[in-house]
Homo-oligomer: 117 residues x 2
Amino acid sequence: MTAPTPIRPTATDAEVCCSRLLAEPLGADDASELAAAFKALADPVRLQLLSLIAVAPGGTACSCDLEEPVGRSQPTVSHHLSILADAGLITKEKIGRWVNCTIVPERLAQLRDLLGT
Amino acid sequence: MTAPTPIRPTATDAEVCCSRLLAEPLGADDASELAAAFKALADPVRLQLLSLIAVAPGGTACSCDLEEPVGRSQPTVSHHLSILADAGLITKEKIGRWVNCTIVPERLAQLRDLLGT
DNA sequence: TCAATGTATCGACAGTTATCGATGAATGCA
DNA sequence: TGCATTCATCGATAACTGTCGATACATTGA
């Protein structure tokens, strides 16, 4: 997860028609990077958090409003939010005592495009 | 993973514009189902296997030809292939002594669409 | 029928992960 | 300054997961 790849690279090559995943044999390094990205989505609590943040006004929600809907403790929610942030799926901004979590739809689109276009 | 949802549902509702994940607060059950699907993709070895199968002629590869490229033992490869099959990402067909694994691109497209359209 | 081969299953083990309570740090308010 | 609140970190624990060797099963060919 180093260089931010473009969201929708203009396909100049005709072979870039389907999935990057399906276009060529995946190397071990690329596979690890990709797997790490999907790992962030591979947990029901994180998917719920992501969904709650996405549907909140402006795609932004306070961390404190997320504990009750997912039914987990504050440390657990904090842990999952950090994982989502590390994966680039949300951003966390500290406003006073609160932490505002904002969805990053471009990142979601990026992962989507890895599965096919 | 019960009812096979259509690959690209015709969006009659204007609100079905982006991601199912981002369209509404995800329930715990839906979240678990979705997470299970992404879990199958959240491992580098499985991604490599998927890639190898996809680029093989006809999108089909013999299980025996996959152990060497991923550098894992036969039981481990068998284990991962079962997970991919359970997730609907590949099908396994026993031909004599061999097991032919075939990619299911529709399933991949399904997961892609869950991230956005 | 027997040996060889491809695959699945079993048992074990190490590493990872989700979870929580307790605690500490940072901020805002009275 | 002191207190309440919000969040992150720590430590512990239970559950899950990836991995392999050993072994059992199934099929083919001699």
